[in-house]
């Protein structure tokens, strides 16, 4: 008799199967951009993004087992035996997407996790190759801990991994400027429009739209910002990298963080440089998202009064 905790079907290698689709869509998008001038591509930028995707796969082969081992270790202590039933799978889909939201939000708000995630945001372009600009250090940086509560509750590790893979594949197609708004889908789904906001460096768009598949989490937790057609989006990171070198892209924030920690003068500074918001400094001399948004809000308040004075 089959164990109800084992999947009742063979789980295909979802990401591997999706790769031909990724390739086809990238080539189609390149042609659309060439013909319509909607969106932008750059040869060197795309080569870097694709190299980062390749490196992500290599690091996945080398270290991915660490995350899987952690899932199975925690699963021993699970609260419930949730089998592979349809209601459990539906619940797992929502739970995985919620876990992704919090992983993603904290990956932007805490430097330790940002050091891995910054890679994905380091392109100044926004197209389907940007989707493949993935971290090399995510597993080593312990990003997988955000999904451990799911297996602790009792969702089978393979089910969690399956929905993580589906989420990753879903998020590929939203990295494009060639698709505008998508009507009612914008209410519940993460769409190209919502995700363009997430990749923007414009102050009004910073730290917004962390969703994986469903945008409902941002609406629920107050991090949703709609795309404003009047505001031209600038993509990338606050301190643009200035390099296409994949090694610098992959490791620059880690090295910067370790250098800051080495020069720290107190344990408080060590904690601040490691787990504070990106850009944290003891004297507040560096820019954080919060300080940039504050300065922007002040400028916005001053502008109307300046206009009125004229």
């Amino acid at each position: 008799m089959a164990n109800p905790l084992d999947p009742p079907f063979d789980i295909p290698p979802i990401i591997t199967y999706a790769v031909p689709g990724f390739v086809l869509l990238i080539i189609i998008e390149m042609i659309v951009v060439r013909l319509t001038k909607k969106g932008r591509y750059d040869f060197a930028d795309s080569a870097t993004s694709l190299s980062m995707g390749f490196g992500n796969r290599v690091f996945g082969v080398l270290f991915g087992g660490l995350a899987i081992a952690a899932y199975y270790w925690v699963y021993q202590f699970r609260l419930f035996d949730l089998g592979w039933t349809i209601p459990v799978m539906v619940a797992c889909f929502f739970a995985e997407d919620l876990a992704y939201y919090w992983f993603h939000r904290i990956a932007h708000e805490r430097r330790w996790f940002w050091a891995s995630h910054i890679i994905h945001h380091s392109s100044q372009h926004y197209n389907l190759t940007t989707a493949l600009r993935q971290t090399w250090t995510g597993t080593l940086g312990l990003s997988f801990i955000f999904w451990l509560p799911l297996v602790y509750i009792g969702f089978p590790p393979l089910m969690v991994l399956m929905f993580s893979a589906i989420s990753l594949v879903y998020q590929f197609w939203i990295h494009t400027e060639t698709i505008g708004r998508m009507g009612p889908l914008e209410w519940v789904m993460n769409t190209p429009s919502h995700h363009r906001v997430h990749h923007a460096t414009n102050p009004k768009y910073l730290d917004a739209n962390y969703a994986g598949v469903l945008i409902i989490w941002d609406r629920l937790f107050g991090t949703f910002v709609a795309e404003d057609d009047k505001e031209q989006i600038h993509y990338g990171i606050i301190s643009q990298l200035g390099t296409f070198n994949p090694l610098r892209v992959a490791f620059h924030e880690w090295i910067g963080m370790f250098r800051d920690v080495r020069n720290a003068k107190s344990f408080r500074e060590v904690l601040g440089y490691t787990f504070g918001p990106p850009g944290w400094s003891p004297d507040g001399s560096r820019k954080t998202s919060a300080s940039i948004k504050r300065a922007w809000a002040e400028r916005q308040q001053q502008q109307p009064s300046a206009i009125a004075a004229e």
Partner: protein, 135 residues
């Protein structure tokens, strides 16, 4: 060698590398190799976007790199990144500047930002002053 190629993971990685070359090739064929160029107006615009003003500047002959001294004494480094330009504004103390005949080399305290090497047509006095440690 045969055994390595029989490994599905190795095959997948080789296939991925080939596909990357294909996509980069398609991007090149479609003409996505146009790079931005820097000039005085662009430097002024980039500085203004950061609330700063350019006092002096040098632009490399290929117009892909530039260094500007801003009115508040800080330095702005600009590099062309494909269609975009990447800039950094730093205090003079956060850079190590070496001036050689016809060449400028800058290294940054922030190791995430790669060193800047640029050719120079001429060496303005402010640059020599900066290299010698003056502001």
């Amino acid at each position: 060698m045969e055994n390595i190629l029989a490994d599905p993971v190795v095959l997948e990685l080789i296939g991925s590398a080939a596909v990357i070359l294909l996509m980069v090739g398609v991007a090149a064929i479609l003409g996505f190799r146009i790079a931005a160029r820097l000039d005085e107006d662009e430097l002024k615009r980039l500085a203004a976007a950061e609330g700063a003003w350019v006092q002096d500047f040098v632009i490399a002959p290929d117009k892909r790199r530039a260094l500007a001294r801003l009115t508040d004494g800080k330095l702005m480094i600009a590099r062309v990144m494909g269609l975009d330009t990447s800039i950094r504004i730093v205090a003079p103390g956060a850079v190590r500047l070496k001036l050689r005949p016809g060449r400028l080399e800058l290294a940054f305290a922030d190791i995430g930002y790669p060193p800047l090497h640029m050719r120079l047509k001429d060496q303005p006095a402010w640059l020599a002053e900066l290299a010698s440690g003056g502001n």
